[in-house]
């Protein structure tokens, strides 16, 4: 018998399922309450991919820009004592960051002093200028600002090396004009750091006034007594003490009349702020960049894992086939 006859005979062989089995299968099929298949991986991917892309895009676009913060941050330190109570602007010794107006903007910490109270006002302002020449010009302008507001410099130190220049000035500015001074000085360059310290001296002066009043009362009483050597000596001591207290008080008031403004100008290279307001495709480029980074990471991590998984799968398939072949090799 040829193979053709053989296959023809095999094809002609009919095996029909018995009626009992047919009935049993019908009963099984009658229990079919399987809902129409709604979930497929393809459908899931159609939904999952845009959702993942949207999440990635939202993360990229809503992510705060660290560079921007570096370029414009302002360091605020110090505490303000006002009306005898401490008003903290930020943790002492621990810098607090806040946005500033950037180049040419007014300082945020131009805190006004309280009129009618004696306070010592100190301010520190660090500015970055674009060149050494600008630093030189800035020193001149700062001195001019101080003199125009009735103030004066107590120290000026300027140095330059190659293309980098810096200057440190200590200016005395009438307290009444310190806000204006800080605002005008801030306009000289980009604020890199600022600090304000206000110390209220009014309580101490009030106590000194009361002490002087008591001493003067004692003096009046001594003068009313019968003059004697002892009385005269005590009167002289009291007068001396009163005069010393009055001098101290006057010195405090003089000091408080002027605010001390330390100004640091530098042309040192600054962190170049990132360009903003790029083209309309900038966001897409950023998103693609992140996607690329993610893809590289996924490849670097995923490839060995995928290769390992493939090897395991191949080995498992090989073993399974060997076992199947062994199982089916019997007649």
């Amino acid at each position: 018998m040829s193979q053709r006859d053989l296959t023809a005979e095999l094809r002609g062989a009919r095996i029909t399922a018995p009626d009992e089995l047919r009935e049993r299968v019908r009963l099984i099929a009658a229990a079919d309450t399987t809902p129409t298949r709604r979930f497929t991986w393809r459908r899931a991917l159609v939904v999952a991919l845009p959702v993942a892309a949207a999440i990635a895009a939202s993360i990229v676009f809503t992510r705060p820009s660290n560079n921007h913060a570096v370029a414009t941050q302002t360091v605020v330190r110090g505490a303000i004592l006002q009306h005898g109570a401490a008003k903290t602007l930020g943790p002492i010794g621990a810098p607090t960051t806040m946005d500033s107006a950037g180049a040419g903007g007014a300082a945020k910490l131009a805190v006004p002093s309280t009129p009618g109270r004696v306070q010592t006002y100190g301010a520190y302002l660090a500015l970055r200028l674009h060149s050494a020449t600008a630093v030189s010009d800035g020193v001149k302008t700062a001195l001019h600002i101080a003199s125009s507001l009735g103030g004066y410099p107590t120290s000026v130190h300027a140095s330059s090396e190659a293309k980098v220049a810096s200057a440190d000035l200590v200016l005395k500015i009438p307290r009444a004009h310190v806000q204006e001074a800080i605002a005008r000085l801030s306009a000289l360059g980009t604020i890199t750091s600022e600090q304000v310290d206000i110390q209220d001296q009014q309580a101490g002066l009030n106590a000194t006034d009361r002490r002087i009043a008591r001493l003067q009362k004692q003096l009046t009483e001594l003068r009313a007594q019968t003059p004697s050597a002892t009385t005269a000596a005590r009167i002289a001591a009291l007068q001396s003490q009163i005069a010393r207290l009055q001098r101290t008080e006057a010195a405090t008031r003089r000091t408080a009349h002027y605010a001390t403004v330390q100004l640091h100008l530098t042309s040192a290279k600054a962190v170049v702020p990132p360009k903003h307001g790029h083209g309309p495709l900038h966001g897409v480029v950023v998103a693609l960049t992140w996607l690329g980074i993610g893809a590289v990471y996924a490849l670097a991590i995923g490839t060995p894992v995928a290769v390992l998984a493939l090897l395991v799968w191949l080995a498992a398939r090989f073993v399974r086939r060997r076992r199947e072949d062994a199982l089916l090799s019997r007649s």
Binding site: M1, T7, L10, V25, I28, R330
Partner: protein
């Protein structure tokens, strides 16, 4: 077959094919009867996974039947090992298909289950090489090789019998 085919329609249409495949595969009509019932029970549970774009319902049902039959073979082997009867070969049931000559029925006994399976799929059910290979989880070339080997064995057995 359309994508709208229900399980009941698929079962009705392909019961004979599945039963015939299992009969050829196991060489035992009683076992084929049991396994066919089990196959359709399992197929009903898995019917939601059936994707008509990936193959016909007949192919899919044959795949399920094969898994059921392999489980049957494994359990049978464990049973025979327990009973220390592993050395006793199973007898291929005679007169299990209508239209086969006596010599061919006898000759079929020389085939292994794996060879009978490929004959059932390729010749009796007339599946093409790719579809049969898909059911067997082997390559189409391997499937064709197995079929040729099986037919050659049958031919030799018939020659010897003659």
């Amino acid at each position: 077959m359309t994508t709208e085919m229900t399980f009941a329609q698929a079962a009705e249409a392909h019961l004979d094919d599945v039963y015939g495949y299992l009969a050829w595969f196991t060489g035992d009509l009683a076992a084929a009867d049991d396994l066919a019932g089990e196959t359709f029970e399992r197929a009903l549970r898995l019917w939601h996974r059936y994707d008509p774009r990936r193959g016909s319902a007949r192919t899919w049902l044959c795949q399920v039947a094969r898994t059921v039959a392999l489980d049957h073979f494994r359990s049978e082997r464990r049973r025979t090992r327990r009973e220390q009867l592993a050395a006793v070969p199973e007898r291929f049931e005679e007169q299990f298909a209508e239209g086969l000559s006596h010599d061919l029925q006898i000759a079929l006994g020389v085939l292994t289950a794996g060879e009978r399976e490929v004959v059932a799929l390729r010749v009796v059910l007339d599946l093409d090489a790719v579809t049969a290979a898909n059911v067997l989880s082997i390559s189409p070339t391997n499937c064709t090789t197995r079929l040729n080997r099986a037919l050659k064995k049958l031919e030799e057995a018939l020659h010897v019998a003659a």
